[in-house]
Symmetry: C2
Amino acid sequence: MECDDYGLTRTLERENLNLNPLQRGGVLPAEAREALYEFSDGYSICDYCEGRLDQIKKPDINRFLDDLADFINIDLVRTVHGAREGKFAVMHALCNKGDTIIVDGNAHYTTHLAAERNHLKIIETPNNGHPTFEIKPETYKQTLEDAIDKTEIKLAVLTHVDGDYGNLTNAKAIASTCKKLGVPLLLNCAYSMGRMPIDAKDIGADFIVGSGHKSMAASGPIGVLGMTSEWEDTVLKRSERHEKKEIEMLGCTSRGAPIATLMASFPHVKERVQRWDEEVKKTRHFVKEMEKLGEIIQLGVKPKEHDLVRFETPIFDNIARSHPRRGFFLYEELKRRRIVGIKRGQTRWFKCSVYSMTMEQIEYIINTFKDIIKKYQP
Amino acid sequence: MECDDYGLTRTLERENLNLNPLQRGGVLPAEAREALYEFSDGYSICDYCEGRLDQIKKPDINRFLDDLADFINIDLVRTVHGAREGKFAVMHALCNKGDTIIVDGNAHYTTHLAAERNHLKIIETPNNGHPTFEIKPETYKQTLEDAIDKTEIKLAVLTHVDGDYGNLTNAKAIASTCKKLGVPLLLNCAYSMGRMPIDAKDIGADFIVGSGHKSMAASGPIGVLGMTSEWEDTVLKRSERHEKKEIEMLGCTSRGAPIATLMASFPHVKERVQRWDEEVKKTRHFVKEMEKLGEIIQLGVKPKEHDLVRFETPIFDNIARSHPRRGFFLYEELKRRRIVGIKRGQTRWFKCSVYSMTMEQIEYIINTFKDIIKKYQP
Ligand SMILES: Cc1ncc(COP(=O)(O)O)c(C=O)c1O
Ligand SMILES: Cc1ncc(COP(=O)(O)O)c(C=O)c1O
């Protein structure tokens, strides 16, 4: 059986401080681990199903989805396999091959792939470049107006918080533009829903997607797709032949343990978004202290409004040039001190997050960077 | 917080014998429960990702997928979210809106939904009706030939073992017809892959899908999509903008714990398919003894070649007529004796499976049915 050893042990999160922004919001609380255990077997969530996953009463998926809709203040929600599958479903339901959509210049690659899989053309609202890389509402407006002059725009997509710079966009202003111009807006909250409070109605979004494994303390793959009731008939259209089943959902989506973890984590998630201000404060402190080390510059909007931080780090790049391990030195120095999550080989810049860490842990991380710099000071 | 109690405890499988065919093949062995624990956190499978889930080396998803391709003897495989998502992806990659495909009359509703979501027309090969409901290769051939006379058929779908009668189709004969007529064949092995040996090359299928949570002892949602290399460029086409990413997979599919359980269960699954003959023997014994009770008739092909059994049960329907609990009596009598998995209220017919049960457990189940009948004998 030794050839079947695929290395299925994971000590990374248990034994280290993990700075990977992708993983900071997906750590399970104890109650979600229990739910995972309870619903580990295939189709176990379907014990009491009467034909629709979203209507199951035991466990109470039905009520949970209502609560989730309240939580983000939107008319109705479904779970999907992730943010990307949610985006794909909306585009698929609203657009035809060859249609054009508008997206922001900081969109995640999965937005592009969802569009490409639907054979859609993309018009992009550029960000304002180095160093803040901001998506300005006025640029979005201008781009959308220009686009509409040329062709019909079937959908607008906006990344609420992007994965490159952790910039929080002014979704409300952009939603208002979209509404005026008659274009439905899909807000990608993969990096925000479950971390910070979201009010879809207040923002004015037609659709909203979230990522359970990324920002809602859930085991993957699972995502959230919310919409206003005006879109229900389009996106949740039922099958003619199997009248209970929603076509775009292929009948059922999250038929497994991930939905149990999303439900079990929900009280924890609701509580933590209330403490979002503290998280932002910690992030700002972290940035300030890191920048003090010299030749470390935070990119993106300042001060930070999200925990994802991108640093330009000429200081580490300079060390790498003469280091026998080259670009690997930083990863290795950090790893030795039980800090992980920065990509191997990267020294010119990196992304990181101290989301949900204690102040002690954050100080330890800052001091570690300081020590590494000191060690290589000429 | 009491309003957040969604009832996330599941004792059904621990405390009862579960006859639900949907769930018999999805029970996790201990090693898969461990893997679930290790990879419970969101995106934990992505620790060492360099841009493609299927190429991750730690855990060794890359080698696992090769081993999985060998296991079903096909050129290459990807994991998807389930059998339905695999069928949708193949149809989406091969067909255009309005195209026509052929499916068998025992196809699962998810085959219909995958086609409907792709806006495809369906031509159906009928089964031969009561009591065996067989899909005959000659009927499939005739239907396909007639269809081709009228329109172009872009894809043929065949259910290897269907979920209504548990009939095993003659996939090899039908594949040979499809090959002769130049129509690619997608074989839906949701109920067979992971239970019985599958040799896609020997059968001659172009595509094959499996269901991890249904028949491969995995936690859901996860499925397997296999294909011959001739289809790689069509189905696994890469994005123009994000050149590593496969469009139809939206970049990555199983970014979560389910893939870890599929990998951990693989040795167990490989071993158990070798014992498939024993399972069939147990099923035949179960059917024989149940039919002896009188007015219990196995539908579908005889003798059974799969563990899913559908019984017509006039005996229980007669009892229900005069029972104060009506159709619920059977469910309740069984439940009292710790047997579950037969739908509440059903007495005219039911589906069940004794897959992976011991002979003692099977005898207990047979005796329980016998006792219930005796209790209500006039
Ligand atoms: C902004 C953004 N959108 C979408 C995604 C993809 O999320 P999911 O895995 O739920 O599809 C990510 C993941 O990194 C992201 O950062
Ligand atoms: C024959 C058949 N195909 C497909 C499916 C769906 O499988 P999945 O949940 O993996 O999409 C089922 C599930 O019951 C089935 O019986």
